[in-house]
Symmetry: C2
Subunit: 214 residues, 2 copies
């Protein structure tokens, strides 16, 4: 297994492999060739072979990949088989949507608590997850530091809330605020979900398409 120096582009494709393999596994498919997998994913068979070769030897010439095995291996590389703890900070519509509908457990995460400033929410639960007052964050994390915080607070308080989370010792922030967060020399992993970038990319493509049509 050669796991060092894997490029960012390969890392970005791994979750997609996992998603497709998971879907095939759920359907009960046992084997798939790299070309059939590539057709489904819209990439070439050689790209797949090259990507997976970063992590070891998978599949057999002429037999394709064993889906259960490859899914387990890719899941292992992604860390899905280790359980990480997670808190949700900000229980507005987006925080609530994630708490209610997102399958954190399938991704290797246990949601332990949620935090908000709205006292009407404090003391209630969503899917069994307790909502605490944001003021209690430091006291809560003092007992045990969660691995990841989902940041779904308003933009105006995004950086200050991130600063508090980092001061509490949290080392992974899943950032939905559309603010570029900084971490003053601390070793923190930010993963940003930029809805705006995604919609602008779509805008670019439809603007081109519509221009061609006329």
């Amino acid at each position: 297994m050669k796991k060092e120096n894997v490029s960012e582009a390969v890392i970005r494709r791994l979750p997609r492999y996992y998603r497709y393999l998971d879907e095939l596994y759920d359907k009960g498919v046992v084997r798939i060739s790299s070309s059939a997998l590539g057709d489904r994913m819209g990439i070439t068979a050689s790209q797949i072979r090259q990507d997976l070769s970063c992590f070891g030897e998978f599949g057999q010439q002429g037999y394709g990949y064993n889906i259960q095995e490859l899914r387990r291996e890719v899941g292992h590389i992604l860390g899905v088989d280790k359980t990480h703890s997670l808190i949700v900070v900000g229980v507005g519509n987006l925080g609530r949507a994630l708490l209610k509908n997102f399958h954190f457990a399938n991704m290797g995460f246990t949601v332990e608590a949620a935090f908000d400033v709205d006292l009407r929410l404090v003391g209630t639960t969503i899917k069994g997850i307790p909502i605490y007052e944001l003021r209690q964050l430091e006291a809560y994390t003092h007992r045990k530091v969660p691995d990841v915080a989902v940041l779904t607070v308003p933009q105006s308080v995004a950086q200050e809330t991130a600063d508090r989370l980092i001061a509490c010792g949290i080392r992974g922030i899943w950032n939905f605020t559309n603010v570029e967060l900084t971490a003053e020399g601390e070793d923190v992993q930010f993963e940003n979900v930029h809805f705006a970038d995604s919609l602008l990319t779509l805008n670019y493509r439809i603007t081109r398409t519509l221009a061609q049509d006329t």
Copy 2:
């Protein structure tokens, strides 16, 4: 201006340029050098010059970029200065979060209507946007086809709802369902927001970081 054959990677970076330029513009900054912009964005000055050269001549040697001008140009390339119409299909927590908090207008979109199957929502409005019954979709789009649909329905009905939207003539789908949609030979642009891929990427990185710490 040479606008043809711009690589997917450059297109993916354009929204980020726009986001940074917009922020600088809001702060009243007039000029910025490619190296200062690169420092903020975490990319090299030469990458910036190379990316922007795909679209024409910007900036002046020794003077940097005029922010207002470059923001307008990048916005133009992204189609932000043309208004496209948009509908939101599915008014659950996520649909509601987008309707309430996302600045569609800043991205060049006018939200015209939302649709849901929940009769308790039908007839109400969110930020002035009317919510219609999903059954009315065909009648609604018969008058005028919106440019883009935001798809925030449950996974189980994602493809069938996309099929209906495509049959109505919609050519851009902003897909939040985590289902890989297909469009049977139709020229449709899908832009997928895969929350799961994003969280798995974070999981990969924190798993590596935590392993190094121990």
